[in-house]
C-alpha cells in the first residue's frame, strides 16, 4: 500500500503573543512545531502500513525550514518525505495549497490514501483535506475518530459528527482527515532518529510539479486577507472587591434583576 501524510509546520499558538500597540502577532521567538493534529494522521498511516505493508511518504508545502517537520515524521517511522517548496508557493490560501499538494500526490503516483490532520492550529480552516480530495477527484472521509478497517479496496471509518457517529465506507484511493480520538501517536525511536538525520529529502518546486505561477501561491489564491486585528475588547467591566457578603448580595441583585444594594 502507498500512503501519503500531509503535515504542516505551524507556530505554537499557545506561545503566540500580541503586540498591543499594533494589534499584530509577535512571531519572533515563537517556536515552530509540527501541527499537533497531524501527529494523529501520521500515526494512523503508520499503523495501517505496519499491518498491511507498504510505505508512508510525508509531504509538506512550506519554506525550506519546514523540512524539520518531515525529519520529525521520519523519526516517528515514516519511510520517506518530499518537501514541496518554491518561492511561487508563498502566500497560498487553502485553494492554492490544496491545488499544489494534489499535484504532488499525483506526481508520487499510485497513492492509495492521503491522510490529513483535522485542522492546522494557525489557519484553523480544516479545508485543505477535502479540497485536495476534490482536486484529485477522490472520495473523502473527514473528522474520523476511528478507522475500523482498511484494505486494498476500501476504508471503513467512524466520522464523529454533532449528533453522533456516522460509519462510512469509501472506495480507494481516498482522502481522510483524522481526529485526535483515533490513536495515540508513537514517540520517535532511536533508529528512527538516526534514519531521519541521514534521510535525503527531495525538494519539488513549481517546474517539477508542472504548475504555473497563476495557479499557485498568492496569485492562485481566490481569497485575500485584508485586515487583521486583535479580538474586539468588550468595554464596561466594573470590578467589585469586598467581603463575600457584599459580593454575593450584588451578584444576587444582578442575577435576580432586583434594584438596590449598590
Amino acid at each position: 500500500m502507498k500512503f501519503v501524510v500531509a503535515v504542516k509546520q505551524v507556530p505554537d499558538t499557545a506561545e503566540v503573543r500580541i503586540d498591543p500597540e499594533r494589534g499584530t502577532l509577535i512571531r519572533d521567538g515563537v517556536p515552530s512545531i509540527m501541527n499537533p493534529f497531524d501527529a494523529y494522521a501520521l500515526e494512523e498511516a503508520l499503523k495501517w502500513r505496519d499491518e498491511l505493508g507498504g510505505i508512508v511518504t510525508v509531504i509538506t508545502m512550506g519554506p525550506p525550514q519546514a523540512e524539520a517537520v518531515l525529519r520529525e515524521a521520519i523519526s516517528m517511522g515514516a519511510d520517506d518525505a518530499i518537501l514541496v517548496s518554491d518561492r511561487a508557493f508563498a502566500g497560498a490560501d487553502t485553494w492554492a495549497t490544496s491545488h499544489t499538494l494534489a499535484a504532488a500526490v499525483t506526481q508520487l503516483g499510485d497513492v492509495d490514501a492521503v491522510f490529513f490532520g483535522k485542522q492546522a492550529i494557525d489557519g484553523d480552516t480544516a479545508q485543505t483535506g477535502p479540497s485536495v480530495a476534490a482536486s484529485l477527484d477522490w472520495p473523502q472521509i473527514t473528522f474520523i475518530g476511528k478507522v475500523r478497517e482498511l484494505n486494498e479496496k476500501q476504508i471503513t471509518a467512524e466520522r464523529y459528527v454533532e449528533t453522533g457517529t456516522q460509519v462510512v465506507q469509501a472506495d480507494l484511493p481516498v482522502v481522510v482527515t483524522i481526529l485526535k480520538d483515533a490513536n495515540v501517536p508513537r514517540v520517535p525511536s532511536l533508529r528512527g532518529k538516526m534514519k531521519s538525520r541521514k534521510a535525503q529529502i527531495p525538494v519539488w518546486g513549481l517546474v517539477d510539479l508542472g504548475l504555473t505561477e497563476e495557479e499557485t501561491g498568492l496569485n492562485g489564491s481566490p481569497t485575500k486577507v485584508v485586515v487583521t486585528a486583535t479580538p474586539e475588547a468588550r468595554t464596561g467591566g466594573q470590578i467589585h472587591e469586598g467581603s463575600t457578603e457584599e459580593l454575593v448580595s450584588k451578584l444576587a441583585d444582578l442575577l435576580l434583576g432586583e434594584e438596590g444594594g449598590e
Binding site: S98, T125, P130, S135, T223, R234, I239, A252
Partner: protein
C-alpha cells in the same frame, strides 16, 4: 464564466470525447491529440467520458467585472436534523436577510430523504426561494451527492454569496465545492458584512488560536463562500405571513453518484446537553479543582434555570464532559447571561463566549484576563462566593 479545457499529455487521440461533446467543440489533430475550439462551453461532459482522465476544466474569472456582475443573491445550505432544519440554518437565514438589506434574494437548498414541512419553515425564517432535492439516498449527509447538487445549483443560479454552517457537514462539503467551482472559501466566520464601497463580502474569522481576527475577501471569483460558526449569528423571529417559492430539483443519476456510503448512524446516547441553546450558562474552569465541585455549579444552574459549561482546562482534567466545553475547540455560546467561575479568560476561551449579552466573572486573581472584558467582575474565592450565592438566592425566593 470563463476558463479553459485542459488536454493533458496522456491523451491518446481515441476520439471518444469528440463524440460526446454536445457542441462539437472537440476534434483530433494530426499528431493524434484532442484539440478544443472556441465553441467549448466548459460543460465538462467530455471530462467524465475520457477513459484516460486526460481532460480537465479550469474555471477562471480573472477579476472580469462583467462576469462578476452576473452573480446575484444569497444561497444558504440547509442542514437537516431529525426531519427539521437545524438551528444553524435559521441563523444563516437571519444573517443572509441582514446582508441582503432587502435587496438580494435569499435562497436555501435542502437535500434530504423527506422534506416534511421544512420548506415552509424555511420561508417563515427568511427564505424567498427553497430548492429541494429529495431522494431516499439522501437520508444521511454524504460528500459527493451534496457536492454535485450544490455545484449544479450554484452554476445555474449564480448566487453572489453562498453560506453554510461551520459544522462537520459544512466543513466537509464546502471546500470540495470551492475546488469544483474554483472560487474562494473562508472557514468558520464569526462576522460577515458587505463593504458599502464595492459591495464585497467582508468575512471575519478568528485565526492563530483566536489570537487574531482576520478579515478576508474573495475579490476575483464568484460566488463568495463562507462557513459560519454556529451559535454566533441570530435567527429572525418566525413570521408565518412570509411567502416564497419552492423549486423541486429533479434528482439525476449524476446527483446520486457516490463512491462512499453511510453504513450506519449511531446517535449520541443519553440526553445530550446543548449549552448553545441555554439562556444562562455557568462555566467552571481550573479553579474548580475537582469534579465534585462542579456540583456547586449544577446547583446554581438549577436554581437559575441555566446549564453548566466549562473551560478546556476543566475538560482536559476530566472533571466534566467535552460537549460542555466553551471556546475555540469547543462550542460557541451567546446566552443572555454567562458566568465564568474560576476561569482566567484565555483568548481561546473568550472567542467562544464573548458575544454573550452580559458576562459575570468570579475569580480570586484581580489580574486575571477575564476581568478585562467581563461586564461585572467579582474578586474573591469561588468556594466562598458560590455556596453563599446559592443560599442567598434561596433565601430571597422564599
Amino acid at each position: 464564466m470563463s476558463g479553459y479545457l485542459e488536454i493533458k499529455d496522456s491523451c491518446t487521440g481515441c476520439g471518444i470525447c469528440v463524440k460526446t461533446c454536445p457542441v462539437k467543440a472537440l476534434s483530433i489533430n494530426d499528431s493524434k491529440r484532442a484539440v478544443v475550439s472556441e465553441d467549448c462551453t466548459l460543460c465538462s461532459i467530455c471530462v467524465d467520458s475520457c477513459p484516460f482522465e486526460s481532460l480537465a476544466v479550469h474555471h477562471s474569472f480573472g477579476g472580469n467585472e462583467e462576469e462578476l456582475a452576473k452573480y446575484a443573491g444569497i444561497l444558504v445550505l440547509c442542514e437537516m436534523r431529525n426531519g427539521s432544519p437545524d438551528r444553524s440554518t435559521y441563523e444563516l437565514l437571519g444573517e443572509a436577510r441582514k446582508l441582503s438589506a432587502g435587496e438580494k434574494e435569499v435562497s436555501v437548498l435542502v437535500i434530504t430523504d423527506d422534506a416534511c414541512d421544512a420548506p415552509e419553515k424555511l420561508i417563515h425564517a427568511g427564505a424567498d426561494r427553497v430548492f429541494k432535492a429529495v431522494h431516499k439516498d439522501y437520508k444521511h449527509f454524504s460528500t459527493e451527492p451534496w457536492n454535485t447538487i450544490l455545484t449544479q445549483v450554484i452554476l445555474k443560479e449564480k448566487p453572489e454569496i453562498v453560506l453554510a454552517a461551520a459544522t462537520t457537514t459544512g466543513r466537509d462539503v464546502m471546500p470540495r465545492v470551492s475546488k469544483s467551482l474554483d472560487t474562494g472559501l473562508t472557514a468558520d466566520c464569526t462576522e460577515l458584512r458587505i463593504d458599502p464601497e464595492n459591495g464585497m463580502l467582508m468575512q471575519t474569522r478568528p485565526a492563530f488560536g483566536g489570537n487574531i481576527m482576520a478579515t478576508i475577501v474573495c475579490d476575483r471569483t464568484r460566488p463568495q463562500m463562507s462557513t459560519v460558526r454556529p451559535g454566533v449569528m441570530k435567527p429572525l423571529d418566525t413570521d408565518s405571513s412570509r411567502t416564497g417559492t419552492v423549486v423541486d430539483l429533479e434528482v439525476t443519476a449524476e446527483m446520486l453518484k457516490n463512491r462512499s456510503r453511510v453504513l450506519e448512524f449511531i446517535p449520541t446516547e443519553g440526553d445530550e446537553v446543548d449549552i448553545t441553546e441555554a439562556e444562562i450558562v455557568i462555566s467552571g474552569g481550573r479553579g474548580m479543582n475537582n469534579p465534585e465541585n462542579f456540583d456547586l455549579l449544577h446547583e446554581l444552574a438549577h436554581l437559575l434555570g441555566g446549564t453548566v459549561g466549562a473551560s478546556r482546562a476543566a475538560v482536559d482534567n476530566g472533571w466534566i464532559e467535552y460537549p460542555r466545553q466553551v471556546g475555540q475547540t469547543g462550542k460557541t455560546v451567546q446566552p443572555a447571561t454567562y458566568i465564568a467561575v474560576g476561569i482566567s479568560g484565555a483568548v481561546q476561551h473568550r472567542v467562544g463566549m464573548q458575544s454573550s449579552d452580559v458576562i459575570y466573572a468570579v475569580n480570586k486573581d484581580r489580574d486575571a484576563n477575564i476581568f478585562e472584558f467581563c461586564t461585572e467582575g467579582f474578586v474573591g474565592d469561588l468556594f466562598e462566593i458560590i455556596p453563599a450565592l446559592v443560599k442567598e438566592i434561596q433565601k430571597r425566593r422564599k
